[in-house]
Symmetry: C2
Subunit: 422 residues, 2 copies
């Protein structure tokens, strides 16, 4: 038997095991799911030294492979980060259980009483890179929402992921749940991902978390529906009626609070009416914070020290301390630019004119549209969902932050008293 065939068989077995586990998990009591999560948190704390040893080996290999510093930082675990992983499991246990929740209920003239009730999606496949805490977070979010999960972490964090996964499995067992509720693909062979993307009938949805090339591959190859965002090209538009202080504070925060997150702004649009009154102050603040600026012709005329922004800039998610700036002709110019270049993730308008704001909120077709708000608030936690598995820019199923409720589907329960249809 070839290795390829072995991996194909292994993935099919994992798919079948996940589906069987999901059948029971779908109706597991909240208490039992929470017990698995809090037990896992306890075990992770108790197993801290083992996890740190495993992580040290991952770090050693990654360093030898000359991984970038930012990657190494995301990979590293210490006491504090392990405590954060345990706390996150406990926080997910505290969140309300979405399963069984009644979304709507009504009576029909025919005598039917109809309820729309939340049910889990089934089996969720998660493909992620470097950060070992995703093993715990993703497995826990799926478990709490009644879904079985199949996790596939990056090769660079293989040993750390396995050590954390061991604690999750022990937690499941302590709670009397099947260990197949959270499975970790035990090989780093790349064909395992391809096999998982083809497990139609066993895996209900794939959530990829990582760089653009990973997401692109998954979106192109998957036969299972995918929930993700490819890019986070977010815009801040400073309108003619913008308050200068807010414009400065929001642009600075949207770009520089953290530059590597998907909700970070990449392009500043500004109405030509406030070019002279607002832009210099905003640019000074950004430069003072260490941000590289690129601009269109008009911006260059204002400040000849910065680089010109090209067509490629408008299409780029820098994920770095770089911002492209474009002058637009009023709100329609901003809306047109966003329609062309936005990745439909998060876009924000700064204005004191509520009519203009409503126009922007209505006409911009992004998952999250904002008024006088920093784009860095694009986050499940900040939306009050407690935790998120990611942010979706697709229009099917969930859009925006994907928390526990977004990991569910629903069914209709119909009650009547012997009703037949005429």
């Amino acid at each position: 038997m070839t290795t390829e065939q072995t991996i194909k068989d292994m993935m099919l077995e994992m798919g079948k095991a996940a589906k069987a586990a999901a059948g029971t998990l779908a109706n597991a009591p909240t208490k039992q799911k929470n017990k698995a999560l809090t037990s896992a948190a306890r075990l992770i704390r108790a197993d801290k030294d083992n996890i740190i040893t495993a992580n040290a080996k991952d770090m050693e290999i990654a360093t030898a492979r000359r991984l970038a510093g930012a990657m190494l930082d995301r990979l590293a675990l210490d006491n504090e980060r392990i405590e954060a992983i345990a706390k996150s499991l406990e926080a997910i246990a505290e969140l309300p259980d979405p399963v069984g929740g009644i979304m709507a209920q009504w009576d029909q003239p025919s005598g039917l009483n109809i309820s729309r009730v939340r049910v889990p999606l089934g089996v969720i496949g998660i493909i992620y890179e470097s950060r070992p805490n995703v093993t715990a977070d993703a497995g826990a979010l799926c478990l709490k929402s009644g879904n079985a999960s199949i996790l596939r972490g990056g090769s660079e964090s293989a040993l750390s992921n396995r050590a954390i996964h061991d604690c999750l499995v022990q937690g499941l067992e302590e709670a009397g749940l099947s260990p197949d509720c959270i499975q970790l693909i035990p090989t780093q062979d790349r064909s395992a991902v391809g096999e998982m993307l083809g497990l139609v009938g066993y895996v209900d949805i794939i959530v990829p978390r990582g760089g653009k090339s990973l997401i692109e591959r998954v979106q192109n190859d998957s036969r299972v529906p995918v929930m993700a965002h490819l890019d986070g090209i977010c815009h801040v538009y400073v309108d003619a009626d913008a308050n200068l202080e807010k414009a400065v504070a929001i642009t600075l925060n949207a770009k520089m609070r953290r530059t590597g997150v998907c909700g970070a702004a990449e392009t500043l649009l500004i109405d030509q009416a406030v070019l002279n009154s607002h832009l210099p102050t905003i640019m000074d603040a950004l430069k003072f914070a260490g941000c590289e600026l690129r601009g269109d012709k008009t911006v260059l005329a204002l400040d000849s020290t910065i680089l010109p922004a090209t067509e490629e800039d408008w299409n780029t998610e820098y994920l770095d301390s770089i911002l492209s700036i474009r002058i637009v002709d009023g709100i329609q110019g901003a809306i047109d630019h966003i329609a062309t270049y936005s990745s439909q993730h998060t876009d924000s308008i700064i204005t004191e004119n509520s009519e203009t704001a409503e126009k922007f909120l209505t006409l911009v077709d992004s998952a999250i549209v904002m008024h006088n708000t920093s784009t860095q608030f694009a986050d499940g936690g900040e939306f009050g969902m407690g935790a998120e598995i990611g942010i979706s820019t697709g229009k099917m199923h969930a859009r925006g932050p994907v928390g526990l409720e977004q990991l569910t589907s629903y069914k209709y329960q119909v009650r009547s008293n012997g009703q037949t249809r005429a």
Copy 2:
């Protein structure tokens, strides 16, 4: 240029035109959309003779091709059916507009006010067979929900569809909307369907309506998400605590009201405890109504005149006056049978025991689960949605009847007063 290349180009052009139309349609006022629908209804009435002439030609070709009687009946249009098409357009105009509806709204401690607002999906591709009224219904439901549509009817109804589509386009123009809001693929070349299934980035969702082979092909080949149901293998389970009169009435209605609809029951499960008290009466009623019965060994022992049911029977959607009957060991036996054979469409329990009923409604994982209700109520109209484009058994996005709301997605509108994230 080959025909294949021409069709590829044509479909791409239709996709681009639909996407452009969808951009404007997404924010078209309700009044304007309704005007297009009521104008189309008026034009269909006025154009009745032309539509009937076109339909007569379709019927002539179909008869020469020896289409089955049931297919011919679905294809045929007369004054009454044309009036029904016009009325259906007016009824869709009367339905509330889902677009812009606020699904939820809340404040966060950070000062953010968050609204979840309904938006259209974008562009919907609909592939359907024989019934020409689907041209009007599907186009109208998409229009009312703010979506552009690309329609692909069956070759047997090509001329009828074109005549109806002409009226829809005139209606759009009268209302000042782009004719690209509802496009009909002008060729019957099969490669056009394949091209549409690959229009990622232009078509947001495909809704196939028709026979199993059509749905199967679409689900296998589409790179665009598909909303559909492949089978409607619906079950009625007569529990030990079933009221005999209700059991007879519901089984008869679920099977025989209309045998060709997806919500028709295909299998009767009955608890062995009421085998002798309930089954003979139910079987008599079904036989009297002209239903062919097939049964397992125990059923055959009760009535030797009927055929044995095979493994294939439990897996078959007859869409005909045939019912398979199986004796099960209590509710767990029924749940196990349904978990194995149900297409997760609609399943119903007959019982006076509310605890048993709740167990069934919770544990059966179908889009619609019912208590003391005929499965033939599985219909958007009967659910109070006004109209439906179909029924979905998938768990992503919409499940159960797909009406106007289910043809929408949402976005988050966030309002604050200069908030930046810490």
